[in-house]
Amino acid sequence: MWFLLMLVMFLTNGMSAFGLKMIAAWGLPETVKYPYLATWYAGGLAAIALPMLLKGMRVGKTELFWGAVAGALSVGGQVAMAVALGSGLPGHVVFPIAIGGSIVVVALAGRLVFGERMNRHTVVGVALGSIAVVLLGVS
């Protein structure tokens, strides 16, 4: 189950970020990205919400609260990156710091807040993966 989830996550999330690149390549105006992103989020929302509605499931207060927190942090991160890029810092500096740094924050929270212990193989995998993410951002 875990391996399947990782595979699905790797492929679907990887392709989902490719859309903005496609729009840029089509030579459409910069403002198209807002309706694009509105549709992008709405499409994702509908894909999960419709099966939930058909099963008679509801979104509770816990989900609403943590969803709002996650949404705010996501928007906050995007705005911070946009300001950093707008200040003249190149993308190959901004993306590795923002993405590589987020992995460090999650790893620290995983260990210190959630008490997750990793075996040696996982530690090596996380270390190599973090370097890979930074290199992908630089390249």
Binding site: W2, A38, A42, A47, A68, G76, G125
Partner: protein, 151 residues
């Protein structure tokens, strides 16, 4: 100033991953959480789109791409949320970020972007990292199953 915002971005995204783990610990329903998480930005982007002055024609391929890739992203978010109830949040978060390699491969294939030495090294590290992460998961399962049998 720009660097400060880079680090703020890192902290914000890092806290996002941590908040999703906290939600999982609070027994939040994974699907419900993703619906709530997508509803807020959808609303913000809708308002932002409606406030745009230039209402030029947007080709159908843009809508189609947005819907297909948006569904893909939601499936990825759901898979991440379910995975952190089984495995480690650090591994899940790393896998989400390693997936940017897929977009880089697609760019090379579709737009014939140059395959530099740096990209080759990065792809190599992605593969080795995933192998180690899977190996770590297998070892952990063996440890848990050995402990269960010993009881």
């Amino acid at each position: 100033m720009g660097l400060l915002f880079c680090f703020l971005g890192a902290i914000s995204f890092g806290l996002l991953g941590s908040a999703l783990k906290a939600a999982e610990r609070k027994k939040a329903n994974a699907a419900g959480l993703i619906v709530s998480m997508y509803a807020w930005p959808a609303l913000i982007m809708l308002v932002r789109s409606l406030l745009l002055k230039s209402g030029g024609h947007i080709p159908g391929k843009v809508w189609a791409t947005a819907v297909i890739l948006g569904i893909g992203a939601a499936v990825a978010s759901l898979a991440f949320q379910v995975s952190i109830s089984i495995g480690k949040v650090t591994v899940g978060w790393l896998m989400m970020n390693l997936s940017s390699g897929v977009a880089v491969v697609a760019s090379i294939y579709v737009y014939h972007e140059k395959l530099t030495l740096l990209k080759i090294v990065a792809f190599g590290l992605v593969v080795v990292s995933i192998l180690f992460l899977c190996w770590g998961q297998v070892m952990e399962r063996r440890t848990v199953s050995a402990a269960t049998q010993g009881e």
